[in-house]
């Protein structure tokens, strides 16, 4: 029985190693400025924790001896104080190092100073659709009042106040079009329930909470189309609340803005 148990745990450990090393699916290619540091952090975590996993399972296998094997530690029958302290300090040190190295990235991601020529986009989550609003040449967003003005069928899904001059040149799009290589400043909001803007390729996720305007930032680095998924349960259509990020060259972006503005 001991042998069978050891083999079972061993097979499981090997299976897990094979699964993660061969990884049939993995991270999508990273296309933003924060994807490389995040992927690096993950790699460190993966190897450290993976090593702890393997060591843990192997030690467990090692202690499961056949009955009759003589390994009796008559010395440490009830425990060993020094050993206890030693391994507590060791694991605490490992986790402390792990924690500190991981958190440097967090302060980079979460604290951000405004850049002058950043693209401003306002993201609104609605059941079950994403809308992206650009402020237009006046670089000001118009006032929004969903309850009074929002009419999706009349082309005003966000409810931009027609009386507000700043809103006349706002561009509302259902695709997030961005120029490669420029900072993007996002304002995230929601019209009905909590949603979450998740762009896996850019390693970006932020909940959009009704009643809040959450500021975040992005720096797309590579031209291409990337999918957006909703990552907070928002109702029946949660699974199909999809959008696309189109990262284009600077000229394309300006062209697109002009085309949208003229409509």
């Amino acid at each position: 029985m001991a042998v069978a148990l050891r083999i079972a745990l061993g097979l499981i450990t090997v299976g897990c190693i094979v699964l993660f090393i061969s990884h049939p699916i993995w991270f999508p290619a990273g296309v933003s400025a924060q994807s490389a540091p995040l992927d690096h952090n993950f790699r460190v975590a993966f190897w450290v924790l993976g090593a702890l996993f393997v060591v843990g399972q192997l030690v467990l296998i090692w202690v499961l001896v056949k009955p009759g094997t003589d390994r009796e530690p008559k010395k440490n029958w009830y425990g060993n104080g020094r050993l206890e302290i030693a391994w507590t300090l060791a694991i605490a040190a490992i986790f402390l190092w792990f924690h500190l190295s991981g958190n440097r990235l967090w302060s980079n991601i979460s604290s951000h100073h405004s850049v002058a020529d950043a693209v401003q986009v306002e993201v609104t989550g609605v059941q079950f659709q994403w809308y992206f609003r650009y402020p237009g040449p006046d670089r000001r967003f118009g006032r929004v009042d969903a309850q009074r003005f929002a009419r999706a069928d009349e082309g005003n899904p966000l409810g931009i106040d027609p009386a507000d001059g700043a809103g006349k040149d706002d561009i509302v799009s259902s695709a997030l079009v961005l120029p490669a290589g420029r900072n993007v400043e996002l304002v995230l909001r929601a019209q009905d329930v909590v949603h979450s803007l998740f762009i896996p390729a850019m390693r970006f996720k932020q909940d959009t909470v009704p009643g809040m305007e959450i500021h975040s930032h992005l720096l797309p680095t590579q031209v291409g189309n990337y999918e957006i998924a909703c990552a907070e349960l928002c109702g029946l259509g949660h699974y199909r609340m999809r959008a696309v990020v189109r990262v284009v060259s600077e000229e394309e972006f300006e062209k697109w803005l002009r085309a949208e503005a003229s409509q």
């Binding site: 425990g79 206890e84 006032r143 009643g211 809040m212």
Partner: protein, 251 residues
């Protein structure tokens, strides 16, 4: 009254593991024996242990209730201080409309509650004194002497609750409804939660006061009064905290 407590000390084995026994208490009721419920109810140790047990449980319940009221108070102050986010102004704004509290009514209610606490305390001490008669084997005198205090506490408690309902009605006549503003939301939440807990205490008090009629043993009634007394005093203290909060943190 002395408690038999012959402590037996065992040499502590010098190791970190193994769960060395330390001092083995032999006091009944605290790891030294069960609380003697198997003994005759008149046995002194048994009565004491029953009281201890019920007091412990009430203490734990009050602990739990305290956490809830601390959280609610914290939420009240937080909401008062931070306001809400305004999407037009793009910042937090204060939207707390201070309540015009009917102070006279509130002070009357507070007085009623305080009095009910005092009368309940008299009832409780009366019963403790009565117990001495019971110990000496004398049949306890008719409990008419402490029924009035218990009965008065019940009446005062009812009056307090009725007074609270009147305060709410008064506020509603001023146009202050539960839903109109966060200050109302939290005011009604705090006072409502307190009132519900007090109503529960009132039921317990009725049970304790009517104990004899329900055939409760004297000792059980004493425990009921004691434990309800703790609860009641705690809720009275809590009421004054809530009153102070809605007054000083008016917004």
């Amino acid at each position: 009254m002395p408690i038999i407590s012959d402590r037996v000390e065992i040499k502590r084995k010098p190791k970190l593991g193994g769960g060395g026994p330390g001092k083995i208490p032999h006091r009944h009721g605290f790891g030294g024996g069960d609380d003697g419920d198997r003994g005759r109810p008149e046995d002194f140790r048994s009565r004491r242990q029953r009281m201890r047990r019920y007091r412990l449980v009430m203490g734990l319940c009050l602990f739990s209730v305290t956490v809830v009221f601390v959280v609610l108070t914290f939420l009240y102050i937080l909401r008062l201080g931070t306001g809400r986010y305004d999407e037009d102004a793009h910042r937090q704004i204060q939207d707390w409309i201070p309540l015009k509290l009917p102070y006279l009514q509130l002070w009357v209610n507070s007085l009623l509650l305080l009095l009910s606490s005092i009368t309940l305390e008299w009832a409780r001490r009366g019963m403790a004194r009565k117990e001495e008669f019971v110990d000496m084997g004398i049949v306890p005198p008719p409990l008419k002497q402490d029924l009035p205090w218990l009965g008065i506490s019940v009446v005062l408690g009812f009056l307090f609750l009725a007074g609270q309902v009147l305060v709410w009605q008064n506020l509603q006549h001023q146009g202050v409804f539960l839903a109109t503003n966060p200050s109302r939301n939290y005011f009604y939440l705090l006072t409502g939660t307190h009132a519900v807990h007090l109503a529960g205490g009132l039921v317990a008090l009725l049970y304790a006061a009517g104990g004899r009629l329900l055939g409760l043993r004297f000792e059980s009634q004493k425990i009921a009064v004691e434990v309800t007394g703790w609860y009641w005093h705690y809720l009275a203290f809590l009421w004054f905290c809530i009153f102070a909060l809605v007054h000083f943190a008016k917004g």
